[in-house]
């Protein structure tokens, strides 16, 4: 197992470099292929009255005048060995892995991302617990009570959950539960400023529920269909015939067998969210990686966009690895192989 994990981690590093090269090409090479000059790119990062001379100087300062492979080489070198950046009176060292400096704020990208990571982690982890428990529980109940009012109502709510966009449900829930009723924290509250865990949870309550609502709906439908299929399997009939208690039949045999596809999706979903829950964070003004990504995109701040892409890829790779290991835990058939 250890060899397997080490091999996977090594492959992950290679994959990250491939992702960085592809992403770098998309952000830096494609505009050049489309005809944009170094000055065209630099003109986004200067004031509105900047003249040709200033634009040229900015293009040089940001490295746009170099060939694309030199630019990528500089980025890759920063990842491995760090890089130096001028601050004006002095030069600042950005230690490896250096994801570069923002074109606009001229701050290093990685510390910004790490600073914002706890918010995204808090949001994703809390929401994941809620959607997993609520979604799977609703799915199991719906499957066991197939065709009942509960089943129909739950699936109706699930349909609404997957259909309603977060920027709608988020703003609506803020208006009702925060501004009208005062039950929840207002938008723009930074949970990392909370004095204790209870306040932290209170600050995140609406974002958690809003985000979980979207995912729980999909998980409920997925669990329901999986359970309906599994509960008709021969081994369930065998388990019942053996005289096993029903809760053991459902939880140990039915649910466990249905969990494998859910686990796969869960790993991907969580990995994606750790790379930034863009809509939830921008709707609730949470200073996490998702909001950072949104701002970077709207401002064309390419080093930030590249940084978010890499950290997102990192989490997806790690989440997939964890899921693969978890397969063995959940499914004895995988372990046997």
């Amino acid at each position: 197992m250890l060899t397997y994990i080490v091999r996977r981690l090594f492959a992950a590093v290679i994959l990250l470099f491939v992702v960085s090269a592809v992403a770098f090409s998309i952000f830096f090479l494609v505009p050049r292929l489309a005809g944009a000059t170094a000055e065209d790119l630099a003109s986004r990062y200067v004031g509105k009255s900047a003249g040709a001379e200033q634009i040229r100087a900015t293009a040089e300062a940001l490295g746009f005048t170099d060939p694309i492979w030199v630019q990528y080489g500089r980025f890759a070198k920063g990842l491995v060995a760090g890089a130096d950046y001028p601050t004006g009176p002095t030069t600042e060292h950005c230690p490896a892995p250096c994801l570069g400096y923002s074109f606009l704020t001229q701050n290093p990208v990685l510390p910004d991302l790490l600073d914002r990571l706890p918010v995204t982690l808090s949001l994703a982890a809390g929401a994941a617990v809620i959607w997993l428990v609520a979604g799977v529980a609703t799915g199991v109940l719906s499957a066991l009570k197939r065709g009942s009012i509960f089943d129909r109502a739950a699936m109706g709510v699930a349909l609404a959950g997957v259909s309603l966009p977060i920027f709608f449900t988020g703003l609506l829930s803020l208006s009702i539960f925060s501004y009208a009723m005062g039950w929840a924290a207002p938008g723009g509250t930074n949970p990392m400023d909370a004095a204790n865990p209870a306040e932290w949870a209170y600050d995140l309550l609406l974002p958690w529920i809003t985000l979980a609502f979207l995912y729980a709906a999909a998980y409920a439908r997925l669990t329901r269909s999986g359970m309906l299929e599994t509960m008709n399997e021969d081994f369930i009939r065998t388990a019942r015939a053996k005289g096993l208690p029903e809760h053991k039949v459902v939880l140990k045999h039915g649910l466990r067998a249905s969990l494998t596809p859910i686990l796969t999706i869960f790993g991907l979903d969580l990995g994606l969210l750790l790379g930034g829950a863009i809509l939830t964070e921008t709707t609730f003004s949470l200073p996490g990686i998702g909001q950072y990504a949104f701002l970077a995109l709207t401002n064309n701040d390419l080093p930030k966009v590249l940084g978010v892409t890499l950290i997102g890829a990192f989490f997806i790779i790690i989440a997939n690895l964890v899921v693969d290991i978890m397969y063995a835990v959940v499914d004895p058939r995988v372990r046997a192989k």
């Binding site: 003109s43 609520a134 199991v140 109940l141 501004y179 938008g187 809760h247 003004s285």
Partner: protein
């Protein structure tokens, strides 16, 4: 039975989860507004007047920003709200007075407005004595000079304006960071013969130097505390507040500067009423509007007005409308006519467009009367020297003067009309609506417009603002907006009517206006130190451009601002076109 127990257990889990979701903690959240004194007002109560005037100090003013500053560093900022807010932590040589009337430039760090030489190329200011930085160090003319020197370094500070780069006799000087002078004060274009005197040497006559003197770049910076790009993390204050915390991109807080002495600040009109300032960044714009109404936020700092959703709600509710103000701004929404694209090289064809255009439709595209007034010419009325010049029936036939448009088409040799393209910024629905309104109204006289949307970020740099692209792609009409850097003819007109600032590499807001007589009048205005005579020239330039039919003025923009009940001493500062952030207070303790 067992199945029932199982279902009950699972259900309990689900309910517990839901319960966890519904119950909240007791801390944070709803705003405790105890101590509020509620003021009642009426629509536009803070326009031209001070609403809820007060000298009471205390409390925390809570600002929210739907975006982020370009930079808090005075050398690197170009946003209007930033220039408004920066008066809280920096003192410029001159400043727009904090008051509800017409924009008035008054001395701030300087004892008086600038004293020009006869040729308006040399300007002298005397720094007040007794002004101190937050650490108690006295502010001298050398700190002002150093602040301006570093703002010249566009490699380190690329985002600020370039007026000092363009108008000073730099003699090759680039940056204090490349300066061989031991005190980093080697710029010869600025002299500091003593600690109180600062003398500017310009490379050409310029009568509006006092406007340059209000730029944030004239805020003093102590050279020993300068950390270059890191300085924005803690700007050393010379104003009434100083930074307490600063989480870049998230939030910053300010407290009173103990070394600020109001006795050294008799002219600016500043009233530092609140004890603390708290600014939250990157807050969802619609959420800010909701929080303003719920009392959770005091001021939407960008000052551009409520979003469309909140506008409708506020205007349809008398109680909410009584808390709103429409602030006139120095922004014009207009459409440029490109004389490089035939047949718009013919003045009569351009006139046909101006006559036929539906001016009411243009105004509707920007939200009707709330969005602004129909513009008859370029300069918004707030700008001194602006004169209404209605040559194309904006007042008499605002829906379009079809008869005169047809006559103009006859004169230009296109009696059946012609076809051309109109561009707009794809992400801006108001500009799309403008293009559609013009397409419909111009079609009535046979002028067929094909609509071409382009991405906002590169609109001026790569597309509509790039002469060769616009010509090649036959962009005859280009939907634009332009806001003055400050309410003055030079601040408004210099970038949109001077043919000599049209850059081949793009980034232009003007492509169409190329009138030698206008260029000459601009030069004349720059040399004219008599204010009244200079302002008359600005009005004449505006009229000359309209006579040349080079641009279709659309709307003089307004913003619908919202003032929560707890705000005191609220008024729109016409120098910035938004609430004044240097004299506003709160009754919420």
């Amino acid at each position: 039975m067992k199945t029932t127990r199982l279902i009950a257990a699972v259900a309990a889990g689900a309910i517990a989860t839901t319960g966890l979701a519904a119950c909240g903690g007791s801390s944070g959240g709803a705003n405790d507004s105890s101590g509020d004194t509620k003021a009642t007002g009426k629509f536009n109560a803070a326009v031209g007047n001070v609403f809820n005037p007060s000298d009471a100090k205390g409390g925390t003013l809570r600002y929210a920003n739907s975006g982020d500053w370009d930079s808090l560093d005075p050398a690197d900022t170009y946003y209007g709200y930033s220039w408004n807010f920066i008066r809280n932590y920096g003192r410029t040589l001159t400043v727009f007075k904090a008051g509800p009337g017409a924009p008035e430039l008054v001395p701030d760090l300087a004892e008086s407005l600038g004293k020009p030489s006869a040729d308006a190329k040399t300007w002298t200011y005397t720094i007040r004595t007794g002004v101190k930085f937050e650490d108690g160090t006295p502010v001298t003319s050398k700190d002002v000079k150093y602040g301006i020197e570093r703002s010249l370094d566009k490699k380190t500070f690329p985002q600020g304006p370039t007026y000092f780069n363009d108008f000073m006799d730099l003699q090759g000087y680039t940056s204090p960071y490349q300066d061989s002078d031991p005190n980093k004060l080697g710029l010869k274009a600025i002299e500091t013969p003593d600690d109180q005197t600062i003398i500017f040497h310009l490379n050409r006559p310029f009568s509006g130097m006092d406007y340059f003197a209000q730029l944030p770049a004239t805020i003093p910076v102590p050279a020993t505390k300068d950390t270059g790009t890191k300085y924005k993390e803690h700007v050393i204050s010379s104003g009434p507040y100083m930074f307490k915390t600063n989480e870049l991109g998230k939030k910053f807080t300010m407290v009173r500067n103990p070394n600020y002495d109001p006795a050294t600040d008799p002219d600016s009109g500043r009233k530092p009423l609140a004890d603390n300032l708290e600014v939250t960044l990157n807050v969802n714009a619609d959420d800010i509007d909701n929080r303003l109404q719920s009392g959770d936020v005091d001021i939407a700092i960008e000052g551009t007005g409520l979003q469309s959703a909140a506008q409708g709600k506020v205007l349809s509710d008398a109680a909410l409308k009584a808390k709103a103000d429409t602030a006139a701004t120095t922004r014009l929404w207009f459409t440029s006519l490109n004389a490089d694209v035939a047949p718009l090289d013919n003045i009569d064809c351009r006139k046909a467009v101006l006559f036929a255009a539906d001016k009411t439709g243009y105004q509707r595209a920007y939200g009707g009367a709330i969005g602004g007034d129909i513009a008859t010419n370029l300069m918004p009325p707030l700008i001194p020297g602006a004169v209404k010049t209605d040559l194309y029936g904006a007042g008499s036939k605002p829906d379009g003067d079809i008869d005169k448009a047809k006559q103009a088409l006859q004169a230009c040799g296109q009696p059946n009309g012609f076809a051309t393209n109109i561009s707009y910024r794809a992400e801006r629905p108001k500009e799309k609506a403008t293009a559609e309104a013009l397409q419909q109204s111009l079609a009535k006289v046979g002028i067929k417009l094909t609509i071409k949307p382009y991405p906002l970020a590169d609109y001026t740099k790569l597309y509509a603002g790039k002469p060769d692209y616009a010509k090649k792609n036959k962009l005859g009409l280009m939907v634009y907006g332009w806001g003055a850097d400050w309410p003055d003819g030079f601040g408004f007109l210099s970038q949109i009517v001077d043919s000599r600032v049209i850059r081949a590499e793009g980034g232009n807001t003007n492509l169409g206006i190329k009138i030698p007589a206008v260029d000459a009048m601009l030069d004349k205005a720059l040399e004219t130190t008599d204010t009244t005579a200079r302002e008359k020239i600005w009005g004449d330039i505006d009229k000359a451009v309209m006579e040349n039919a080079s641009a279709l003025p659309g709307v003089w923009a307004k913003g619908l601002l919202f003032r929560p009940d707890n705000l005191t001493n609220v008024f729109v500062n016409n120098g910035f076109g938004m609430y004044d952030y240097a004299a506003i207070g709160t009754s919420r303790k």
